[in-house]
């Protein structure tokens, strides 16, 4: 693939935590305009990879390029093009929803009038206008994901990197989020998301990479990767691990 067709290019990305190698010389190319799913078992290195790709975690080795800009050599230029939704990190949740998204916009150096207009539109699109004056700490899990997404979108990024955007989200909010993401991708933006819900990735993503043990095991369009099977089966095939439950007879109440 030519360089200008790549939204996110990872080369030899490596991260060790003590004796444990979380990400091991990982290579990945995310084509522009794709809706890219990253799937893998717990502890596969998805969050670590995405953190290194977005400038939140310094890699031990390797590089990450966003639309041709090196994230770790020119972080300011690279970060201006990325919108991030991290998983498991806090928000400034003593602010109201309105204040938080405004804060995210102003931090990006945007002009106040533009921020106000975009925040209004984002909150309306995500159905949060009613709750804009509530503290974010009082939001439900779904609302929290949506307000974080608004923070990631407010500066009109070219690449969206979302870590588990659908976790703990109710079906209605999930539909809203999905609509916004599909619209974003259809208009030339690139979405990278991690998930461990195979069904969802199969339905909404154009491309997928399966990660296990800190390395890419399979990558390509969804059809290429699943090769005639369901993504779920293909995943278990690649990642391995027995699915048969042995023992635990005492849990079966009928054995009484």
């Amino acid at each position: 693939m030519p360089d200008d067709q790549i939204a996110l290019r990872l080369r030899g990305l490596t991260k060790r935590f003590g004796a444990m190698t979380a990400v091991d010389r990982l290579d990945l190319d995310v084509p522009r305009g794709s809706f890219f799913g990253l799937v893998g078992p717990n502890g596969a290195g998805k969050t670590t990879t995405l953190s290194m790709a977005t400038g939140l975690l310094r890699p031990d080795a390797g590089s990450a390029h966003v639309l041709g800009t090196d994230v770790w050599a020119d972080p300011v230029a690279a970060k201006a093009r990325i919108g991030v939704l991290p998983d498991g990190l806090r928000l400034f949740d003593r602010l109201t929803g309105l204040q938080l998204v405004t804060y995210a916009g102003l931090l990006r150096g945007m002009e106040r009038g533009l921020v106000a207009q975009r925040v209004r539109e984002l909150l309306a699109a995500l159905g949060l206008t009613e709750a804009q004056d509530k503290l974010v700490i009082d939001y439900s899990a779904g609302m929290t994901k949506k307000i974080t997404l608004a923070c990631a979108l407010v500066h009109a990024p070219r690449l969206l990197v979302l870590d588990e955007p659908f976790e703990a989200v109710d079906p209605v909010s999930a539909r809203t989020i999905r609509g916004i993401l599909e619209d974003f991708a259809a208009n030339g933006g690139t979405v990278v998301l991690s998930s461990h819900v195979m069904d969802l990735v199969e339905r909404i993503c154009s491309h997928v990479a399966i990660i296990a043990g800190g390395q890419v095991r399979a990558v390509g369009t969804v059809d290429e990767v699943r090769g005639g099977m369901s993504l779920d089966d293909r995943f278990l095939d690649l990642v391995g691990g027995s699915t048969d439950v042995e023992g635990l007879a005492w849990l079966r109440t009928s054995s009484d």
């Binding site: 977005t54 400038g55 939140l56 975690l57 310094r58 972080p75 300011v76 690279a78 970060k79 201006a80 990325i82 991030v84 991290p86 498991g88 990190l89 806090r90 928000l91 400034f92 949740d93 003593r94 602010l95 109201t96 309105l98 204040q99 405004t102 804060y103 995210a104 102003l106 931090l107 990006r108 150096g109 002009e111 106040r112 921020v115 004056d133 503290l135 700490i137 009082d138 923070c151």
Partner: protein
């Protein structure tokens, strides 16, 4: 079960140390620092065994013992924060008998440096009391009872304060209570200043305390030495009864927490808010936004507004020696205020916890981050430092010292901000996460906290040394030095501040991802 709980506490302690070398270094420092004090106290207690004046020995043991009990009750709240590892609410889902849990958690409080130090000191009091074999036995009994009341009191205070602080009203009450405690330190300091501690005074204090719950357990052995067998018996009985009562209170508190575990979780709701608040009033730039965010947090988050109130009021404690005629105390008020406000910002990024990712992901400029954060404390300093500088002469201090104290105050505040700009980009220690009680502390982090705070304090003093020397000269009668301080303080302060912002900003640019990683590992 009790053994399980003790082992749990040991594991928590060990894992906390294993997690970072900094915690280990902190622990070593703590052992050296606390160990020195313990060695001094123990040798003093051993020497007291051979002191000719048995009455004095008794008075010292009683006063020291009472202070220990009071310290166990107050210090965790005021200084170190409450260790939440054995927070009773965390055991709500386990089916453990409540009495067993109460016993285990109380004993668990002894595992750790303060517990070990207290046990050693209590053992030394047994030696002090060993003038006769029976007295030694009574001292041992009294020591055990005294130790038990230390631990129980600290558990009760910790449990009750976290429940009380969960409500806004409770926080206000606690703030006033804390203020009263601080203000009462003033007269005590005044007493010490006047050379008010005499042998006779100590003996009287000992006799009084011996009849209060603080002193019962520690006084019994001395009674035996003096031959008052009946009194000794009564005091031991009273001490034992106190322990039973304390245990009952602790158990009831525990039961209340276990049956309604959410009562201790702080809630952050209430109050209608409209619009952008500070975000609309400060400039629409990254720096203005960061200032607005910091200001909003100071108003809304007890982790900020509680210390802010304390910092504002603490220098007022100097009014007591000041009113008694100490010009030094009055002139020092703006200095203390400036130091506390400036130095207090050195761990600001730590208070963001992992929400700091938003700054990292946005590629925020280092200068904007450094300066924006200081906005609320700068406002506080602008009010407090000149306020205290003028208040001193108004209540009887010397107007001639005003330029010196104002200049030194400005210098100290700016140096504090300069140091904060650098340290909060280099190393942050764990603080209560948002929503936790402002008084809780992280296990295994006391050492790092102590080390960072000491280094920062030292740096602030070194940076403001020129103006402090001038202010000192002014105090000893060189009037020109006061005016020189008024010039040198702001000038050196601004230079230090600019240098601090530059260095801090460049460190922030290079280290922000590592800083975030640090915060993630602490969360």
């Amino acid at each position: 079960m009790v053994a399980h709980l003790l082992r749990l506490k040991l594991h928590l302690l060990r894992n906390g140390l294993r997690r970072s070398p900094a915690a280990l270094i902190g622990m070593v420092l703590g052992v050296l620092y606390g160990g020195g004090i313990v060695v001094a106290v123990v040798s003093g207690l051993i020497a007291l065994r051979f002191a000719p004046d048995a009455e004095l020995a008794r008075a010292l043991v009683v006063v020291g013992g009472s202070a220990t009990v009071a310290g166990w009750a107050l210090l965790p709240v005021v200084l170190f924060g409450i260790d939440p590892t054995l927070d009773p609410a965390r055991f709500a889902t386990f089916s453990v008998r409540e009495r067993t849990l109460a016993l285990g958690l109380a004993l668990g409080a002894l595992v750790g440096l303060p517990g070990v130090a207290t046990v050693v000191v209590v053992l030394a009091t047994v030696f002090t009391g060993s003038r006769t074999p029976v007295a030694a036995l009574v001292a041992l009994l009294g020591g055990v009872l005294g130790l038990a009341s230390c631990v129980l009191v600290s558990r009760i205070v910790a449990g009750a304060s976290s429940a009380v602080l969960a409500t806004r009203r409770g926080r206000d009450v606690a703030g006033v209570g804390g203020l009263l405690v601080l203000l009462s330190l003033g007269p005590v300091a005044g007493l010490v200043n006047d050379g008010g501690i005499t042998v006779a005074g100590l003996k009287t204090l000992g006799r009084v305390l011996a009849w209060t719950p603080l002193g019962w357990a520690w006084a019994a052995s001395g009674d035996v030495v003096a031959g008052d067998w009946g009194v000794a018996g009564i005091r031991l009985l009273l001490a034992a009864a106190l322990c039973l009562v304390l245990f009952a209170v602790w158990e009831r508190l525990l039961v209340a927490v276990l049956r309604n575990p959410h009562s201790t979780a702080a809630s952050g709701s209430g109050g209608a808010r409209r619009g952008l608040g500070l975000f609309a009033r400060l400039p629409g730039t990254p720096m203005g936004a960061i200032a607005a965010r910091a200001g909003t947090y100071w108003l809304r988050d007890p982790r900020f507004n509680f210390p802010a109130i304390m910092t504002t009021l603490l220098p007022a404690g100097l009014l007591f020696p000041g009113m008694a005629g100490s010009h030094l105390a009055l002139a020092a008020m703006p200095l203390v205020s400036a130091y506390l406000i400036g130095w207090g910002q050195h761990n600001d990024v730590g208070y963001d916890s992992t929400a700091f990712w938003l700054h990292v992901a946005s590629g925020v400029d280092g200068v904007a981050d450094r300066v924006g954060r200081l906005f609320p404390s700068a406002v506080l300093a602008l009010v407090c430092v000149p306020g205290y500088a003028v208040l001193g002469p108004l209540v009887g201090g010397s107007w001639a010292l005003l330029p010196a104290s104002l200049g030194a105050g400005i210098g100290l505040a700016l140096s504090g901000f300069a140091v904060a700009c650098v340290t909060s980009a280099v190393k942050q220690y764990a603080v209560p996460v948002p929503g936790e009680s402002p008084f809780s502390s992280r296990p295994g982090s006391v050492g790092v906290t102590f080390a960072v705070q000491t280094v920062c304090g030292g740096a602030v003093v070194v940076l403001s040394l020129p103006v402090l020397v001038l202010a000192g000269l002014a105090f000893f009668g060189w009037h020109w030095a006061g005016w020189a301080a008024l010039v040198v303080g702001p000038v050196v302060g601004v230079l230090a501040f600019v240098a601090g912002v530059r260095l801090g900003a460049s460190l922030f640019g290079r280290r922000q991802a590592d800083l975030l990683q640090d915060l993630v590992s602490m969360a």
